[in-house]
Symmetry: C2
Subunit: 411 residues, 2 copies
Amino acid sequence: MSRDRSSAEPNRSGNATLERLADATAAAGADAFVHVGDRFDDDLRYLTRFAGPDRDYAFVHVDGRATLCAPRLFAEQAEREFPGTVVPAGGSSASSAAERALEILDERLSSPLEDARVLALPSMPAGATRAIASAVDEVALEPIELGRAYKTSAERDRHAFVQRAAQRGMARAEAVLAGATAETAEDSRYDELRWRGDPLTTERLRREVNATLARSGVRNAGNTVIGAGATCADLHFAGEDRIDPGETVLLDLSPRGPQGYYADLTRTYVVGDVGEWERRAYDAVVEAQDAAFDALRGGAGTRAADVHEAATGTLAEYGFESGDVDVGMYHGTGHGVGASLHEAPSLSSEEPLEAGHVVTVEPGVYDPDRGGVRLEDLVVVTADGYENLTAYPCEIEPNPSRDETLPEHSN
Amino acid sequence: MSRDRSSAEPNRSGNATLERLADATAAAGADAFVHVGDRFDDDLRYLTRFAGPDRDYAFVHVDGRATLCAPRLFAEQAEREFPGTVVPAGGSSASSAAERALEILDERLSSPLEDARVLALPSMPAGATRAIASAVDEVALEPIELGRAYKTSAERDRHAFVQRAAQRGMARAEAVLAGATAETAEDSRYDELRWRGDPLTTERLRREVNATLARSGVRNAGNTVIGAGATCADLHFAGEDRIDPGETVLLDLSPRGPQGYYADLTRTYVVGDVGEWERRAYDAVVEAQDAAFDALRGGAGTRAADVHEAATGTLAEYGFESGDVDVGMYHGTGHGVGASLHEAPSLSSEEPLEAGHVVTVEPGVYDPDRGGVRLEDLVVVTADGYENLTAYPCEIEPNPSRDETLPEHSN
C-alpha cells in the first residue's frame, strides 16, 4: 500500500513548494509540518494534488519527505495523485487523521515525539490541532507563504483549459439569449423573453450553461452567477429571476477543472433595444477594462493598485463612482485565481505584481434599481506585460453563433 | 444591512436545531456557541442555510438568537438565505470572521466578554479558535449532536428532487452505452467500444452524464464515479479508462442539489456478452440488496448493522467474502446522506435506525483483476419500514430509452 515516489516526481510547482515548507519549518524553529483537512481545503489540494474525499486526511512533511495519510478506501486514488508516500488511515474524523499523522511523525522524527515542535496552518481544524498538541511539545500555528500566487507553465495551461471551457459556456448563453423572443406576457402590458416556449429565467439559462461546461470536462462549483436587471447588482446571484428584454444579463462563469484550477469569465448582454443607462454603463466598463489592461502592460513590478485605479479613474470619467457606494463600482478590479477561486494577489494591493501571477481583470458598475455590467478576463502577468488567457469578444448584443468563432477546446 | 427574521422563520429543521444548540451550550456550561468556516463546511451550511462564499464567515448563537457575520459583498445573499440576523463582516480571513464574531458576542452577552465560556465545534479552524480564545475565558471544543441525521419532510423532498436528477443522468449513461458499438481496434485482436466515431471512455461517458445532471438543475460535486473493468474496483474512480465490451461499467452518481442536499445512485452495466463472473457478481449484488431491504422492513428501531449483515450474508452464499478482503465486498452497505454526502448513520453501526434517517443501500463486489458490481438506492427510514427515494430498475443490459420510463422531473 505504501510507495515512495517523492524522489522520482517533483511536486506541482517543482520541489519549490516543499522547499518553502522546509524553510518555513526551519524559520519557525520547528521539526515538522503537519496539515489536516478534507477535499475542500485548497492548501491541502495544492500541497498534495490529491482530490481526496469528504473526510479528513493528513499531510506530514519531515526532513524533505512528504507523506499523505489517506483514508483506506481512497488509498488507490491517493497513490495515483500524490507524488510522495501514501499510508492508509483508519477512521474518518479529523482526530483519527491527526492520530495517524502522529504515528508518522513518531516514525520520521529523529528526536522523541513529545519534544517535537510542529508547524501548522491556522486553517487546520481545532480538534486535530488539539490532538497533535497533546502529544508533542508545541504546535506553532502560522500562515505559510506556499507560493501559490506564482503559477508554473503547467498550472497556466490548466487555467487556459478551464477558461476555454468557460468560453464554450458563454457561447451557449449567447445562443440562448439570441434565440429568445420578446412576447407580451398574459395579463401584462410588458414584454417578456421566451425561449423554447417558456419564459426565459436566469435558472433556465444557468442550466444550459452548466450543461455545456460539463460537456467540456469542467464543473460549475455552485458559482454560475447569472443576474438579470436588478439582480445583476447582487454580485453573486445564483437564484431564479425572469429575464426581460432591455435589461442587463450578467454571466460570471467560474468553473473548476479536473486538476482543481478555476476559470473566471464575465460578460454582460442586453436582448433587444439597449437603453441609455445600459449603453453608458457598458461603454464605461469596456473602457475601464482597457485602461486596466494598459496599466498591466508594465508587467511584473507594476503596483497592483495601479490597475484598479486605472479602471476606477476611467469609470469616474463616465460619472460612475467607486468604493463604498450604492451605485457604481463597489468591488475590486481583480483577484488572483488558482486552486482557489479567490486567492492572492488582490488588484487593490500596494504590492507589485509578479511574473506568473494569474489574476482577473473585472471592472463593473451597478445600479440596484436598473442592473449591472461587468466584464472579466483572466490574465497571466509576465516579465514585460501580460498574457490574456481569454479570447472572447465583448459585445452587448448576444451572437447566436459565437461558438463557431471560438478556438478549439482541447486538453 | 441588518434584519432580524429569527422569530418569524424557523430554522431548517424547525427550531429544533437551535434548541439543540442551546441545550448543548447549557450542558457545556457555556454562554454562547460560535462557529467559523466557509461554504465547504457542511455543519455551517446546515446551521445557516447560507451557501456562502469561499472565504470564512461566522455564526454566533447567544440566548436563542442566531447571527451570521457574512462578508460584505455577500450580505444580500445572506439576507435571502439565513433566517436570523445578518451583520456584514469586513475582511476575508478566518481571523477577521472571528474578530467580527467577538464583536457580536460582546454585544449579545450579558456578562463581560473576558469571562465568557464559548462552545465551538472541533472543525472550527485553529486560527479562528485561537483568536476567540484570546478574548474570552475559555473555548470548549466539543462535537455537538446537531440532529443532522434526522431529515424533515422538506429535506426529504430535496433529496428526492436530486435523486430524480441523478436518475436522469443514469438514463443518459444507459443511452450512451446502448448506442456504443463493438469494433475491432486498429493493431488489436480485441474489440473496443466506439460511440459517435471515437473510443468510448469513462471520461466521455462522465461528461454526458454531468451535462444531463446540469440540465436537471443539480451539479456533480467532482464525484461522478465511473469505472470500467478493473477500475470499478477502485471505489471512487474519477479518471479516464477505455470501456470495453463484456466488462462491468459502474456508475456512482452523487450530485448536489441547489439547497445543498445530495443524491446517491449506483448502477452497473455490461455492454455485449455477459461473462460468468460478471453474471454471478450481478446476481449476488441484486440479492444482497434485496436482503438489505428486507432487513430495513423493520423500520425505526432496526439495528443498523443488521442491514449490512443481511447483505454480506447473502453475498457469502454466492461465494463472495466481506470485510478486509482483496476480492469481494470491502466497504459498508450504506451511510447517511444529507448536507454531506457521507454522514451519520452508518449501516455498520450497532445503533438502531430512526425514522427520518436517509441512508444509502449499496452492496457491491469487486475483483481488481476483473471488475466490480455495485447497486445503490437512497431510502428514508420510516416508523414501520422505509421509503425508497429511488425509482430506477436494476438491469445489467443498458436500455437505450430508459429516460422515457422515468417519472417526471419537477421542482
